[in-house]
């Protein structure tokens, strides 16, 4: 009787969350895998039939990697974007966290709030900010300011000028992402720094440690676990972010292919680029690319769980009767 009541309670507590997880993670994942074996196009349910060679889309992606000049750009962009942004996000977050840690409380609070702003800003507004900033006409902030200063005499198409590609497009998407990304590192590192016993800092100061020595020998070594955590976590989320790059591409701020990361490629192949005009979409191909992305993500995720020792964080419950 008691056992039955307990199981009923467990069902009551866990059912809502796990029904959502089943409906919106597990089932769609299975569907996406199935779609990757078909030649589905334009979301037409009639084209949802298994291909004679189910792995055709995967073979096609591999072939494109070698011979499709646009897809080659996607691969390069994904690698450069992910690694460079990751480095900036982790190091920038660390630098920022140490800087605000060393500041007086009021100043520190102001900067922490300021750097959280991009993270809180709705993605459409955030993309809009940088659309204005990098606009290719003389109304663009960067163009207008550089022209007023006499650095350039006619407006530059920052993200699409072939003479500046791919570097300018990469610089823009990386910069725009870093401003959001550093705040994650900043939050985690700052709270970790704050939990270092204050006596330890005082002791180092009394012993005559300079600020640089304090940072190198006390602060950074004590948050090593957090640095690893942020690095892995950021890597995973960088592989999957695409929303604001999508808007910047759709609005023509940056070149389409030199700004398409793998995740954005999946999205635009499946859902189109928007902006009007009839365009075909290829769900079969997109799903195959999506499955590859998921495999990479899941592999890195599992590795992260082992590496970071999440098991130890899951303390067993005490209150069980």
């Amino acid at each position: 009787m008691k056992m039955a009541g307990r199981n009923a309670a467990l069902l009551f507590f866990l059912a809502p969350a796990f029904i959502l997880i089943a409906l919106f993670y597990l089932v769609p994942l299975a569907i996406t895998v199935y779609v990757s074996f078909t030649d589905m196009q334009n979301w037409s349910l009639y084209t949802l039939r298994l291909l004679p060679n189910p792995l055709f889309n995967y073979a096609r992606l591999f072939h494109m990697m070698l011979y499709d000049p646009d897809f080659v750009k996607v691969v390069y962009t994904t690698i450069v974007f992910t690694l460079v942004t990751l480095a900036f996000n982790v190091l920038g977050g660390l630098g920022l966290a140490i800087a605000v840690y060393l500041m007086e409380e009021r100043l520190s609070g102001f900067f922490r709030g300021l750097w959280l702003l991009p993270r809180m800003t709705p993605v459409a507004v955030y993309a809009l900010l940088w659309y204005y900033f990098f606009l290719g006409s003389r109304d663009g902030t960067l163009n207008a300011i550089l022209m007023a200063l006499g650095v350039i005499d006619k407006p530059v198409q920052w993200g699409t000028d072939p003479r500046l590609l791919p570097w300018s497009a990469w610089a823009i998407i990386i910069y725009v992402n870093v401003l959001v990304g550093v705040s994650f590192g900043m939050l985690i590192f700052y709270s970790a720094l704050r939990s270092i016993p204050w006596e330890q800092v005082i002791a180092a100061r009394v012993d005559g440690a300079s600020t640089l020595q304090l940072v190198r020998h006390i602060l950074i070594p004590s948050i090593r676990w957090h640095i690893m955590f942020v690095t892995v976590w950021q890597l995973l989320s960088l592989l999957t972010t695409y929303a604001h790059i999508f808007l910047l591409v759709e609005w023509g701020v940056v070149d389409r292919w030199w700004s398409s990361t793998w995740a954005l490629y999946v999205f635009t192949t499946a859902f189109g680029l928007g902006g009007g005009g009839p365009s075909s979409t290829y769900q079969g191909l997109a799903a195959a690319a999506a499955v590859i992305l998921a495999l990479v993500g899941a592999g890195l995720g599992l590795l992260a769980l082992r590496l970071l020792g999440f098991r130890r964080m899951i303390v067993p419950p005490k209150g069980e009767l």
């Binding site: 009541g5 307990r6 866990l14 500041m103 800003t121 939050l187 204050w198 009767l321």
Partner: protein, 322 residues
Amino acid sequence: MALAGLLRRRVRVSRPVDAETYPKRRLTLVIAAAVLLASLPMLTTYILLVLSSFSETLVTGAEFLEGKPIRFTLRYWEALLSGRLSAIVMTPVTINVWETILNTLIVALGVSLVVTLASTLAGYAFSRMRFRFRERLMELIILLHAFPGVTLLIGVYLLYIWTLASLLHGVGGAGRAFAVFAYTILARASLEIPMSVWMMKGFFDKIPWEVEWSALIDGASRIRTWLEVMLPQVKPGIAALAIFSFLAGWEDFIYVYVFLYLGTEGKYLTLATLIDQLVGNLETAELPLAAAAGVLYLLPTIAFFALTQRLLLEAYTGGVKA
């Protein structure tokens, strides 16, 4: 306001202000100046957005260098709030701005409700109950949080158009609208479930279990204990989660774009897709209109953030204490 009071009533952890232990005054100034310099472009874009929304043409910042005056106007705000966009937008669409705001609000509130309810329930079980596969399920949840959303999106959307085309074939009007919004809300809320279950578990973990234990010994059921003993104690956590997920639903672009906009041939706009449409269809000269929409969209976020910053920060970092 009661909420604000609840949120603000937190002990401020201050560290001893000790002249010896801070870096030298000059170094502090150098650090502050460096951080300010790094923040400058970002800060500028926000200021220019607000200024542009009140200006005849886009404010670029060069006006200040060249000493040109900014021509202020309220006409873009008037056009936006009264919904008279047809004079400005090139495409012959009628956009009801208030309806757009209402749509955005429905999605945000729906996401907040679903996320808060599901994770307050599941978080309790993970924190307080012992059952088979508990550790495995926790790991699954962490993995799901890091799972590429775009991979799921294809499957979720296929399920969506199939449901609309078959099960809801003959259903129109209010029934269909309800289904469309419910689907969008549930899909978007699910994305937040892993993180928020983990967060809620963290809040429950912090509650001493003696009170709950005595309730259980007195013969109260698990569910009654949860409702009457535990929930009152995690109120700040629930408030944080509700706000957090509200903002997630409010700021979303991809889901409202795919399900509410693409999936219905542009029938339901939210503020995010409205801005997307405005930028795509405006002459450069009329861009301040998009800026006004952007400021309107940004305001609630800033207000909520300012009100509950401390709580949100804690919620954000609560899940990853080593």
